[in-house]
């Protein structure tokens, strides 16, 4: 049943390749140890959902820590929360939600053969990511200046209740890990954009665009919970 290298049983759009191999622009690189390209796409999605599950559990550990310390210091957490810049946090929420829309549209455009529109949407997504990080930088900078820092680096005299250094430890751990994911997501989307421009993806083959988009949505997902839990106590 193994096809020879020159003929695909699934038509010219599905090119048999060795595992990890590439197909000419826009065609589906069918690694022949998968019974059909369908199975390959299904397996790729399964791998991505499994990976995203581990990511969710990674962040869940921090959310559980947050729950424990918020239970121990409810009033201090509320006090510290009101010391964050709500406007910047809200703007960042809107920026990330919009970037989630544009990445979903980018996948939609690749699937409908409009690679130019897809490139535009991916570039808007990357610009949103940059805006998010710039705003985050201003927030962090302010905290370094006034000394609302984790643990023993906490020097702010405005709030001197026990638990305040822990709030800011959790603030920096959660938003820091999230910002790291923004940077990784930007790298992935830059790679995807490059290959969309080079014409590697098409309505026949768009799996990497779809999976890169899934990663970006996860970044948005984490922030959807961080925003009310940090800024709106």
């Amino acid at each position: 049943m193994q096809p020879d290298a020159n003929a695909s049983p699934f038509g010219p759009n599905y090119v048999p390749v060795a595992p990890g191999g590439r197909a000419p622009g826009g065609k589906y690189p069918w690694a022949t140890h998968f019974g059909t390209p369908n199975v390959q796409t299904y397996a790729a999605r399964f791998g991505m959902w499994l990976f995203l599950s581990t990511e969710v559990l990674l962040f869940a550990g921090l959310f559980v820590s947050y729950a424990v310390y918020r239970y121990l210091y409810p009033q201090t957490f509320a006090l510290c929360s009101r010391h964050l810049d709500l406007s910047l946090g809200t703007i960042n929420t809107l920026v990330l939600i919009t970037s989630s829309l544009t990445v979903a549209l980018a996948i939609h455009f690749v699937r409908t053969g409009k690679n130019g529109m897809a490139t535009g949407m991916l570039i808007v997504t990357l610009l949103c990511a940059c805006a998010f990080l710039v705003i985050k930088y201003f927030e962090y900078h302010h905290k370094f200046e006034q000394g609302t820092l984790p643990g023993r680096f906490y020097t702010y005299s405005g709030i001197q209740t026990e638990g305040a250094p822990m709030f800011f430890a959790l603030y920096f751990l959660t938003t820091g890990l999230h910002a790291l994911h923004v940077v990784v997501g930007m790298s992935v989307l830059t790679w995807v954009t490059y290959h969309v421009v080079k014409g590697r993806f098409s309505p026949v083959y768009y799996t990497p665009v779809e999976l890169g988009g899934l990663y970006w949505h996860l970044v948005d997902l984490v922030w959807i919970f961080l925003y009310p839990l940090l800024y709106l106590i």
Binding site: Y42, S53, R82, T90, P203
Partner: protein, 137 residues
Amino acid sequence: MADITKNVTDSHHPADLEHHGAGAYYLVWIALLALTGLTWWTGQMHLPNFGLALALIIATTKAALVVLFFMHLWEQKGVNRVTFVCTIAFVIVMLLGTLGDVTTRLETLLPKREAPASELSHMPKHGEAPAHGAQHP
């Protein structure tokens, strides 16, 4: 083999996502913006008992919209559909298990220390310096 070939070259082959217009994405986006506005508005009311629950309900609704429609979980088949849902279930188990322990046992081991009432009597609003703000630039 002929059947498989026909199946996989069809644009609606089973591994493909459903084809629909981009309109749904804009609707989800508008819903997400509206829910962000709602949580921003209600979050500043600082509802004493219901505030956290409301914030989590809104956040979970937003997350569900992103996962189901932006991430197409709704259209996934078989194990791809179940994996992520199972993960969320176990996150809830981890959260409830830990909180169950902390809320029933830790208080007997550690004295619960909280800010003195005097410091908390005048909660600042967003953007204001703390009520007793000794250090204000």
